[in-house]
């Protein structure tokens, strides 16, 4: 008596007019195969394969969507493809730069004595011999490392107190007075000073005060401070601003003086953010080339005195080794040294960036007893 109804499977009205879930994968597979086929006709290379496949993928997915889902959904798919494509395009140079520096830099870094010797006495004769394969690539970056560390350290010693105190003035004493507003505005302006102009300023200042042609590590440190101070001010200001007012009021209520409150309550609460901001500022200036180029000159030997004599630094070392190779007829040993130095510089900057994140996490103020 009971007649069994065989259910007729049909697509629900809600999912009608939609691409199936697997659509992107199918289109991607087809695009990759087609791309490889097209590239095989005109000569295969990985970069061209990626570009052609990406274009085919976007065209295929958008076309299919337009046929099934209508123009609105198709436009949405097109925008998604473009946005994801923009992100991938932005990643290309990052990967390419890091790859180039690794491939070219590791042989330079592995040269014996690369980190421990200077370029003192290294002449084109040695480089010609190295290029002919009858001698090792000698010379290293010890003098440049010393210079970079000393110049950056001096710049930090100048900028951190000035920057931090300014941030304290802006947050704790400024009260939106005209002076505070002027300082905020000009700090913003300072952020935009081109690095080479900061270098020229330091050079012009020391030329006028000490004497024409004064080029030492200290001049470079002043130039870097001009670039570093606004960064320190902005990051410390942000950090001091987010310290809850209740902490300050509690301290005042206990009769603590304002300066003791700032030193013992406000700064310890914000110290993790301030320290990571300072580390990021150091990472920003340690790679600056142009200001050091016009203020510290070039040196090939070790100079331990920041206040006298020309000084080398890692960025200017890279720059001069590439533009003026030690041996003009055989630039390969020089470019090997330059890439080695670039690798060291990138590692330094990445370590500083990582350090900043670590500081921010480890020294973050403890929140309650949960």
């Amino acid at each position: 008596m009971t007649s069994t109804l065989t259910p007729v499977r049909k697509r629900s009205a809600l999912t009608k007019g939609q691409l199936p879930k697997y659509a992107p994968y199918v289109v991607l597979g087809v695009a990759l195969v087609l791309g490889a086929a097209i590239l095989a006709l005109i000569g295969f290379n990985a970069f061209g394969w990626g570009v052609v496949s990406a274009i085919l993928f976007a065209a295929g997915l958008v076309g299919w969507s337009a046929a099934v889902e209508g123009s609105r959904k198709a436009k949405d798919k097109l925008a998604t493809c473009l946005v994801v494509g923009a992100f991938l395009v932005a990643l290309l140079p990052l990967i390419s730069v890091i790859w180039t520096v690794m491939v070219n830099g590791i042989p330079g870094l592995l040269n014996p004595g690369f980190l421990g010797t200077s370029m003192n006495g290294v002449t084109g004769v040695f480089d010609n011999r190295a290029a002919e394969g009858t001698g090792p690539v000698i010379g290293g970056i010890y003098h440049a490392l010393i210079g970079t560390l000393q110049i950056t350290l001096l710049a930090t010693v100048i900028s951190v107190p000035v920057g931090l105190l300014t941030a304290i003035y802006l947050v704790e004493y400024g009260n939106d007075r005209p002076l505070a507003r002027a300082i905020t505005f000009f700090v913003d302006v300072m952020t935009g000073i081109p690095s080479i102009v900061a270098g020229l300023f330091a050079a012009a200042f020391f030329f006028a005060v000490v004497g024409p042609g004064t080029k030492t590590g200290a001049v470079a440190a002043v130039a870097l401070s001009v670039l570093m101070i606004p960064v320190v001010v902005r990051s410390s200001e942000e950090m001091l601003k987010i310290v809850p007012n209740e902490l300050r009021e509690a301290a005042y209520a206990l009769g603590v003086r304002k300066w003791r409150t700032i030193l013992k309550v406000v700064i310890p609460t914000a110290i993790s953010g301030i320290a990571s901001g300072v580390t990021l500022a150091i990472a920003r200036v340690i790679g600056e080339t142009a200001p050091i180029l016009v203020t510290a000159g070039f040196a090939t030997s070790i100079n331990n005195n920041v206040f006298g004599g020309w000084m080398a630094s890692l960025p200017t070392f890279i720059y001069t080794q590439i533009l003026n190779p030690t041996s003009p007829s055989n630039p390969d040993p020089s470019s090997q040294r330059a890439w080695g130095a670039a690798l060291v510089l990138i590692i330094l900057v990445m370590l500083l960036n990582l350090g900043a994140r670590l500081i921010a996490r480890v020294f973050a103020p403890k929140t309650g007893r949960r």
Partner: protein, 310 residues
């Protein structure tokens, strides 16, 4: 009863307050003094270049004949950089703020920040050693097929060390700046606007077009202006990548020069009047970037009043 101990203030505390607030004030004023000093010392050192007889300046036709080709060159490089960087950065910022899975977003933002962390001299070296040789066949193709456009006029540079390559390297350096600023602004879009658009049946792209982009337009403009400030002043990418020369309209021949690269290439060996000329060129660059940055800040501050949750 004599004076109460509450109103009498003595001891180290009061002096400490004075010293501390004084130090903070001094530091603030020092920054103003430094900026004033930047302008003052640049002007003092640059004056000889303006007053010297025209024949003594490099090129022999006075300072302005010397400066205007490199000002144009600077603008060309910066405009190429922005033309590439602006759409890419807005796309990347949208990807991070509205397209990427929530868990990935902050990590992806960090990856883009890494682009900013790489020192400019490394970008310059990469542009000269890797990008220029790779891209020169494309210039040959452009010269052969699009040569009727003045900007692609042949013969193309065989080394690829042209102003277009320099502009591409500059755009890579500008992308993280525009991206991080626009991302901040996209994230500030009122959530209610977005949800209202989606609830009315808008697709994601329509939602972005109707609620996110109109809200963020002033922010994007100022982010692009700040990127322009960076591109104008960037030195190393141009100094290492471009084989400089006289001002030419073609972007794929060697030629053109920017102010910053001109200073970096010549300052170390300069002396006498040449130093003044270069410092005067730096002053011109300072004024240009200052104007660009101030316009950008003005747009931001005007925008601030009606941003936020409204």
């Amino acid at each position: 009863m004599t004076t109460t101990s509450l109103t009498s203030s003595r001891g180290a505390g009061r002096a400490g307050d004075k010293v501390f607030s004084g130090a903070a004030l001094t530091a603030g004023c020092l920054i103003l003094a430094v900026l004033f000093g930047v302008a003052l010392f640049l002007v003092i050192q640059a004056i000889p270049a303006f007053t010297a007889p025209a024949a003594d300046i490099q090129g022999g036709e006075g300072f302005f004949a010397y400066i205007w080709p490199i000002v144009i060159g600077t603008l060309i490089a910066a405009i190429i950089a922005l033309a590439i960087a602006t759409p890419v950065s807005i796309g990347v910022a949208l990807f991070i703020s509205h397209f990427a899975p929530r868990g990935l977003a902050s990590g992806l933002g960090y990856v883009i920040d890494l682009l900013a962390a790489i020192p400019s001299v490394v970008y310059g070296a990469w542009g000269a050693a890797f990008l220029a040789p790779q891209i020169s066949p494309a210039y040959g193709w452009l010269a052969a097929n699009m040569g009727w456009l003045p900007i692609f006029q042949g013969p193309a540079s065989a080394t690829g060390k042209t102003i277009l390559t320099a502009g591409i390297v500059l755009s890579v350096m500008v992308i993280p700046i525009i991206t991080s600023l626009s991302r901040e602004i996209f994230l500030q879009t009122p959530k209610l606007h977005e949800e209202a658009a989606l609830a009315l049946g808008a697709t994601r792209w329509e939602m972005i077009k109707m609620s996110v982009l109109p809200f963020a337009r002033p922010g994007i403009i100022s982010a692009v202006m700040l990127g322009l400030g960076r591109a104008l002043g960037e030195t190393m990418a141009v100094a290492l990548v471009l084989s400089s020369g006289a001002l030419t309209a073609s972007l794929i021949q060697s030629g053109n020069q920017t102010i910053a690269a001109e200073i970096a290439l010549n300052f170390p060996e300069a002396s006498g009047l040449k130093v003044s000329t270069l410092i005067a060129a730096g002053l011109v660059l300072f004024v240009i970037t200052l104007a660009v940055n101030m316009i950008a800040r003005w747009i931001i501050s005007r925008h601030k009043e009606f941003s936020g949750a409204n």
